[in-house]
């Protein structure tokens, strides 16, 4: 028996049991092989359910079961780190025809995965907020924390997630979302569309003052900066001026 054949049969519910897998009396181990089939699929589906409670709540249990069944068979984990399984679940949802009536579903999945990533991300030491009182610092390059994640959505995605988990009615339109982790619990904060251009620029090495010029006119800059600082999102300020 090649392990390739074992896996292929385990992922296909109707496939025959690979030859050479037997019961104590030497017969083909049909029910016995189903134990592995079941363990693999159920375990992976549970891992996805643990990461995506809002998606599950929005589509209902039966739909979620069917959707995750398709997903785990086509996209088994790439590493044994199960808490981080499902990075491409949102992309899968984008292409999953039965979910097309919920066009925001993939973005809710993106947000849930970002929160999970932030929760598990490496610990770093934030720059103390007091250092930001020196205006010179705004001309320097900064290093962003691995707990800081951002995404843009055409939908009020943070409100949709809260609706899914707590039942508050969602309202509003497109959002850019910042995930920060003050302490151990990540939070998602919604900002006007276009805000993440500032973060993309910071990540690419632009100084704070220059990056801030890319902000949309309706962004409250001091609230934005406050979210970054409270979330410990800036972990280093590099020496030397940067005027690019």
């Amino acid at each position: 028996m090649r392990q390739q054949d074992f896996i292929q049969a385990a992922l296909a519910p109707e496939a025959p049991v690979p030859t050479g897998l037997i019961t104590p009396s030497g017969a083909p181990a049909t029910r016995r092989f189903d134990v592995y089939r079941n363990n693999i699929i159920v375990g992976l589906k549970e891992a996805i359910a643990a990461s995506y409670p809002a998606v599950k709540s929005l589509v209902g249990d039966a739909f979620f079961e069917a959707m995750t069944g398709d997903y785990v068979r086509a996209h088994p984990p790439k590493t044994p780190i199960l808490p981080l399984y499902g990075a491409d679940f949102a992309e899968f949802i984008d292409g999953f025809a039965p979910a097309s009536r919920l066009p925001y579903l993939a973005d809710v999945a993106r947000l849930e995965y970002a929160l999970r990533q932030s929760y598990h991300a490496e610990d770093t030491c934030p720059v103390p907020a007091a250092e930001f009182s020196d205006p010179l610092l705004f001309t320097r390059q900064v290093v962003l924390a691995p707990t800081l994640i951002w995404l843009a959505s055409a939908y009020p995605v943070t409100k949709l997630r809260r609706f899914a988990l707590d039942g508050d009615r969602p309202s509003g339109g497109a959002e850019d979302v910042l995930i920060t982790r003050p302490g151990y619990d990540p939070i998602a904060t919604a900002f006007p569309p276009g805000t993440i251009a500032v973060l993309d620029a910071l990540r690419d090495g632009m100084a704070l003052a220059n990056a801030a010029e890319l902000a949309p006119s309706d962004l409250d800059l001091s609230q934005f900066l406050g979210t970054l600082l409270k979330g410990g999102a800036i972990i280093d300020i590099l020496e030397g001026d940067h005027d690019d």
């Binding site: 028996m1 090649r2 392990q3 390739q4 074992f6 896996i7 292929q8 385990a10 992922l11 030859t19 050479g20 897998l21 037997i22 019961t23 104590p24 030497g26 017969a27 181990a29 049909t30 029910r31 016995r32 092989f33 134990v35 592995y36 363990n39 693999i40 375990g43 992976l44 891992a47 996209h75 088994p76 984990p77 790439k78 590493t79 044994p80 780190i81 199960l82 808490p83 981080l84 929760y119 598990h120 991300a121 490496e122 610990d123 770093t124 691995p146 707990t147 982790r181 151990y184 619990d185």
Partner: protein
């Protein structure tokens, strides 16, 4: 030289679940050490952080830790994943655990259209070829980590027509060739013996107990096989069954005291339930200690 100086304390441990963090840290209980699943404390890019790592660091200051891997795929056909081995080394170096163990099983397949990690402990035939491969993998793990590892006997649901070794004979050969230790899962012995129609007590009699550094106890479920006979499933979702307690008592009488773990991984109960399972094990362990 492999570091063989580290070992678990002679007492009862439990599989650590984050919902029990404050019970473990604050209360009086019979639990002397904790086992964690290595893969819950690894990052894909960079190290793992956040609350899980902070809790693990806090616990490892107070309790000896057993790091139990589920993802190395020791029984895999391919080579060990170097990235995964590096993550494991990082965790072991940071936590400096009392023990590291893995399974006689495979869980990763890295070629062809179905490559990935399959989150289950999949079975392998016992042949000269698989023996050589398992030993190569264990050699690589032990030399990378610079310490001895324990290898756990699996729960089996089926047999392989091509097997030429019995399981105990296979494990003995692995110990002899690699110098690794063994983790004797008594529930797995009971489950496999029922499912493969062998005698669990014979299995315990034949086992190389001198190599055993840890015992596992856990709960199993019952299903039906092809002929309607009981097929036991190693589910870790309930109390240890009475016949498994008997087999454990027999193993202790045969082998002497061994650090013993209660495994409970699904439908994890309130702390009191888990602690009372640990107390049951501690009582049996004490009887062979005096």
């Amino acid at each position: 030289m492999l570091d063989q100086t580290k070992q678990l304390p002679m007492g009862v441990g439990v599989g650590y679940k984050s919902k029990h963090f404050s019970n473990i840290s604050e209360g009086e209980h019979p639990v002397k050490w904790l086992e964690i699943h290595a893969e819950n404390y690894m990052g894909e890019k960079g190290a793992a952080g956040g609350r899980p790592m902070a809790q693990l660091r806090a616990l490892s200051d107070r309790f000896p830790i057993s790091v139990h891997g589920v993802g190395l795929s020791i029984g895999g056909e391919g080579r060990l994943d170097p990235d995964h081995l590096a993550r494991l080394k990082h965790l072991i170096d940071e936590i400096s655990p009392a023990s590291f163990s893995e399974h006689l099983a495979w869980s990763t397949h890295d070629t062809g259209p179905h490559s990935g990690y399959f989150n289950d402990l999949l079975p392998l035939p016992y042949t000269a070829k698989t023996l050589a491969r398992v030993c190569d993998h264990i050699d690589e793990v032990q030399s990378t980590l610079g310490r001895q590892m324990l290898l756990e006997n699996p729960a089996s649901y089926l047999a392989f027509a091509e097997s030429t070794y019995g399981e105990v004979e296979f494990l003995r050969a692995v110990v002899k060739r690699t110098g690794c230790g063994l983790l004797l899962d008594v529930n797995n012995v009971f489950v496999s013996a029922n499912n493969l129609r062998i005698d669990a007590y014979d299995y315990i009699d034949a086992f190389p107990h001198e190599a055993v550094g840890e015992i596992h106890l856990g709960g199993h479920d019952e299903d039906q096989d092809e002929d309607g006979a009981p097929l036991l499933i190693d589910s870790h979702g309930r109390e240890v069954a009475d016949p498994v307690w008997h087999l454990y008592t027999y193993a202790l009488a045969t082998a002497g005291p061994k650090p013993t773990l209660i495994e409970w991984d699904t439908d994890v109960p309130e702390w009191e339930v888990l602690a009372s399972e640990a107390a049951r094990a501690a009582l049996r362990l004490e009887q062979v200690l005096v």
